[in-house]
Symmetry: C2
Subunit: 320 residues, 2 copies
């Protein structure tokens, strides 16, 4: 059996799994990224984890290679550069170093681009040639597929839309210190920031007036909206409005058939999706109206990022 | 000898030429678009013009097909839809109708996308896989090339960036009545609008205080800047600033290696290009800084649009 190692490097967890040709993650595990601040120790932990998974899987699988999704990764250079949420600063030659420990075909890519590739090979993008995958977790990520191909960009940094000031909000700082960047508003973290913003902006009573910022959780905001909490509903509406403006702009760029959404914010379901659809219809140029779908990812949440990373290698073994 | 018919449909002129494999326009002519308001009469005039050019060229060339660049064209549907500057309203099945008169392989495309394809096959894009061609004439057009391929979008309307409100200006109306669209600022027409805006905004004396809006011409604005006219210089700076913000946003999308500029506004040379480069460097995310070139089109201005249109057919006859 042929398999691919998929690795998703996040600020909190590093998830690793073995993925077959159909995009099924056969075995998986994770460790805490911050337990290994030194690059060498971190990569040794990856190697040991992969060895353990191969043992757990059993048999004699042929390992075709290793795909890695990471924030601020350059696919063309095999590097991770100045990530906001990882310990290694500057430009880290991640692939070259890991290959010394695990000699096999290896590719790294921005995590949102990897997610888009996962959707293209294994998910809701299978039947589409033009779509944009949007990840809405701690940050805002975008992976763009056009003409049936992922767009890498000149040196592998396409789709870094979270930090660009699109003049859509009121100048909130992103993790990179950039005012007005999309991810300060449109992400799971952005929603929390909007909850406190709404407390400043309005006088409505809200359950969140008794909750500290650091104790805010997405699920609670969804539940509050369901119970009619005015500030929670206003926060979703505010987030959806800014997101719709952004997606309308993106549509004029590559005219995707669909946006495929994933990540924490999507778990809020109709509270974010209903206003998003309403506003998007309003902001789209007439020529695009009614032609752009908003879809939720069809990938299983827990392993989606691993399968996306593995898609970097499976892409080169497709036989169609 | 093999040749392709290239047709550029503009609001004022319809330019037609015969283009060889190297992208040289061998013979060419034009007629006034508005002299033929009826679609049938217009297309008959195209056919007669092409027949005349073939006769002028002489010999027995093999006509491989006909490529057409037009505003608001859908490449996938072969239609022109609700153009702001043409007489035919609604959705016009332009290709199907013209094929009845000129039965040959035929493709139509947004004029800016055709220009991008022209650059890819014959111009400065030859050595690049990722670039964006920007046309700055009456309007603002963008043709996006990524992975060495033009991006069409789901139904052929990618790159319609001129009418999108990106919140970059102060809400000027575009030709489609959309407030804040890019082409209200960043285009040859936009520059003229900015000249009168500057007269409202500032008290500086200027030669343009004696010129009516309808008598404003791009060349005069350039000449005035050269002579130190403060309002002219301010107008270029204002235009370049908004353009730089837009290009910085576009860069975060597909990370082009270069923007290739063409159209009337580019003739202003350093007056637009110098502030554009300065502002762009300022607005780009760090990860992109120093990696994005601003280039002027290498195509001969007079025939660039014809060659771009012809590229739609030549693209399918490349042998590399």
């Amino acid at each position: 059996m042929e398999i691919v190692v998929g690795i998703d490097i996040g600020g909190t967890k590093t998830k690793i799994g073995l993925v077959n040709k159909e995009g099924t993650c056969l075995v998986q595990t994770f460790f805490r990224t911050r337990d290994y601040l030194d690059l060498d120790a971190y990569q040794l932990q990856i190697k040991n984890t992969v060895d353990g998974l191969l043992q757990e899987l059993g048999g004699t699988p042929i390992v075709l290679g290793c795909g890695i999704g990471a924030p601020n990764a350059s696919s063309k250079n095999g590097t991770i550069e100045n990530p906001a949420n990882l310990a290694w600063k500057g430009s880290t030659p991640f692939v070259a170093k890991l290959k010394e420990k695990m000699p096999m075909p290896m590719r790294i890519m921005n995590d949102a681009s990897a997610a888009a590739l996962g959707e293209l090979l294994f998910g809701r993008g299978k039947e589409m040639t033009d779509f944009i995958a949007i990840t809405l977790g701690t940050g805002f990520g975008a992976g763009i597929v056009a003409n049936g191909k992922l767009i890498d960009g000149f040196d592998g940094f396409a789709g870094e839309l979270g930090h660009v000031d699109m003049n859509l909000g009121d100048g909130r700082l992103t993790g990179l210190g950039i005012p007005g960047g999309l991810e300060a508003y449109v992400s799971a973290t952005g929603l929390k920031r909007t909850i406190v913003y709404m407390q400043a902006q309005y006088l409505d009573d809200s359950r969140f007036r008794n909750v500290a910022f650091n104790d805010l959780h997405g699920e609670d905001i969804t539940k509050a909206a369901e119970e009619g909490d005015v500030l929670a509903i206003k926060a979703f509406d505010y987030t959806a409005n800014i997101m719709a403006k952004a997606l309308a702009n993106f549509t004029a760029f590559t005219q995707p058939e669909a946006f495929i959404l994933m990540g924490g914010l999507v778990n809020s379901g109709k509270w974010i999706l209903e206003p998003l659809n309403t506003y998007l219809d309003q902001y789209l140029l007439e020529v695009y109206r009614g032609k752009v779908k908003i879809l939720e990812s069809g990938m299983e949440g827990k392993t989606a990022a691993i399968c996306g990373a593995a898609a970097l290698i499976w892409e080169n073994h497709q036989t169609n």
